[in-house]
Subunit: 412 residues, 2 copies
């Protein structure tokens, strides 16, 4: 069971979390709980580190920021004990949750779950684990996993203790076909394949950290996204609570062709015109961008009609647009292009579904439907289970609604 | 160097602390710094633990509360690095600072300072150590040393790294002959013997935690109490800054007979009348009090004139008076007394000085002086280097001023 910052924002809510845990324990389950910092705390700690020095040591940043989860883990252990449930808190270094030394965005390299399992068996003790943090064993120092890292902690621990399921309690009650604020007819999905969720998470759906979904896929840990606002007492622990199960494709019996529509408005487009169509030219563009740690998303390059010159279009997050443009302009001589066309008011809309693997013509239907609405498609990229379209940002909502209806995702 | 909560209350003050440290490093010193939590933070954390459950697990309390010092240690390390000083933070479990398992009031059992020393030599790295916390090695869990424990951390670490001196930066500029708010003529002492400071600390002077002074005495670590409000740049690191050195008796060349006057108003007195003067009667009184964890301070029992019956008087903190009285009343049959006399508006005034060892009649002068002022002495206890008088609380200030003048402690 994993609870995020808003679920543990104050003592009253921590008590509520304890009752959720008690329900599962009473139903005979062995439970590990992963908690985030009380909402606002991590921002406060990050703010102090930044105020002290803009260029702060990431190792010290981690020691500071990890303290937020330390507090919540202790408080929840106390709340559980006061309900008569044996419980203890675990910090990342106590288990330990081993990570590499990439401080502030460390990756988990190993977790030994045997002591936690032993305590489940011996004393029915609930493990309350500080999320987001780990330890680099070589240096003995505290690490953190980056924003949203508690989701990753939860799935990694679930794998380490061979959990049947990892329940992510969050402020939404599941994964929707698209953002319900944009499409009121959006439906909650009962099941989503890991691969689909990966696309949806990285395409702008904010429910789960991408890495936690990757981990679920690799270790085959079913992840259940559910609401932390449901009253603990109203839920039947043996029933099927509302939520979305993220699981392997095989477990989804009746898969639809399209599962969901994701979109992202904070995009910027750069088109590099009239570059030579020869090996190495792409590297001359993306090498300097990678060196500047600029995150390139869509890349579109057409086959040139004369075999000599072509255009290349790519997108970057809007926040990195100025740096990206500057980088490409500085490398003009090396790349050898005639001019740059750029656009900042663009959005990316993605259509996702494992069913695309076995269905042809899914994308073609979209092109026709958007054309009918006079929505111009600037660029297209595709993968096995999704395709993404770059359009003018002003048409985002219209495009999402159109596609949502087109692929039969609207609520009955 | 140890800095308390008010000295690290915000980022600006943490930067100020960093400049204090830089001054000492620039003067060629190898420095370990011990920090408390930002002022108010520990209270906030304790409040959360109590709100979650009044009867909380002390092990979880420790995990929660220790996070405050973790934050400050990281922030100060960052502040030092930004001044170009190599520095890293150390949590209690990283060194480790080994303690027993008396959570929330643990005692330090060992510190291996060799790694800190190695880093002084190898890379001139300043060790920034989270005060107040340690680890019980058997359980691998975080412990805390009780309120004011950072002083104890500082002196213990100073001993472990063979420091020449332990500087306690605080919100007062040293130890005074008595509380300057009561006696404006109180003088700052240049030097105080450990034994005297022990009496002054446990008699109500709030400058240093008693256990830190005990540790200084045992390991012979000179402790220098000085102000954290002095501007770092105004201090000559090779000069003699204002403050009080707490050191061994031998280093105090010209000792006065009386060093200081301590007092405590939060006292309550219980007199047990007409008890049998035989072995075991004291145990029948203090046994039940000890079982109830009631802290008994002064104990006065006179020799009975008939060898059969006597009276016994003791004091407890005012906050424990009701429980203490109740305990004694419940044990009435077992103790066998006629009646209890109690008083809650009483104060204890103590006169302290190692010079008393070699001077007779020190206390007698006090009795005469107080009598002249019509101050009634309710009870007297003495030790080698101090005597304490129990009086009506209303006369506290008058008694303290009278004794301060009597023993020549007033400023010239």
């Amino acid at each position: 069971m994993k609870f995020g910052g808003t679920s543990v924002a104050n003592i009253e809510r921590i008590r509520n979390v304890a009752r959720h845990v008690k329900r599962e324990v009473d139903a005979g389950h062995e439970v590990a709980v992963v908690v985030s910092a009380m909402s606002g705390k991590t921002n406060e700690l990050v703010g102090w580190a930044r105020e002290t020095s803009a260029l702060h040591d990431a190792r010290e940043y981690d020691a500071i920021v990890a303290s937020g989860e330390q507090v919540t883990s202790g408080l929840l252990a106390i709340a559980l004990q006061s309900l008569g449930i044996p419980a203890r808190s675990w910090q990342g270094w106590q288990i330990p949750i081993q990570t590499d030394d990439a401080h502030a965005s460390a990756r988990i390299t190993g977790i030994d779950g045997s002591e936690l399992i032993r305590r489940f068996k011996d004393s029915k003790e609930v493990a309350v684990i500080a999320g987001f943090q780990g330890m680099n064993v070589e240096s003995g120092r505290i690490t953190t996993l980056g924003r949203g890292g508690s989701d990753t902690s939860a799935v990694a621990i679930a794998a380490a203790i061979h959990a049947d399921r990892c329940d992510i309690y969050t402020d939404v009650d599941g994964v929707y076909t698209t953002d319900p604020r944009v499409v009121p007819k959006a439906r909650r999905l009962d099941k989503v394949a890991f691969e689909e969720m990966l696309e949806m998470a990285s395409q702008g759906a904010k429910v789960l950290q991408v890495r936690s979904v990757e981990l679920g896929l690799v270790h085959n840990v079913p992840v259940f996204v559910r609401s932390s606002f449901d009253k603990p007492e109203d839920i039947d622990p043996h029933g099927t609570p509302p939520g979305t199960l993220i699981c392997s494709e095989e477990e989804i019996v009746e898969s639809q062709v399209v599962t969901g529509i994701a979109f992202s408005k904070d995009e910027a487009q750069i088109s590099v015109r009239h570059i030579q169509d020869k090996p190495g030219v792409a590297a001359s563009i993306f090498g300097p961008l990678a060196e500047g740690s600029i995150n390139v998303d869509m890349i579109v390059q057409n086959v040139s009609d004369d075999g000599k010159f072509t255009d290349l279009t790519f997108t970057v997050p809007a926040s990195e647009f100025v740096r990206a443009k500057d980088t490409i302009e500085k490398a003009k001589d090396k790349i050898g292009y005639t001019k740059l066309d750029t656009a900042t008011d663009v959005a990316k809309v993605s259509v996702i579904g494992v069913g695309m693997r076995s269905h042809a013509g899914v994308a073609a239907k979209a092109f026709a439907a958007l054309s009918e609405r006079n929505i111009n498609i600037r660029a297209i990229t595709t993968s096995e289970i999704k395709f993404s379209l770059l359009i003018d940002a002003a048409y985002t909502e219209l495009a999402v609604r159109t596609l949502h209806t087109l692929y039969g995702l609207d609520q009955a």
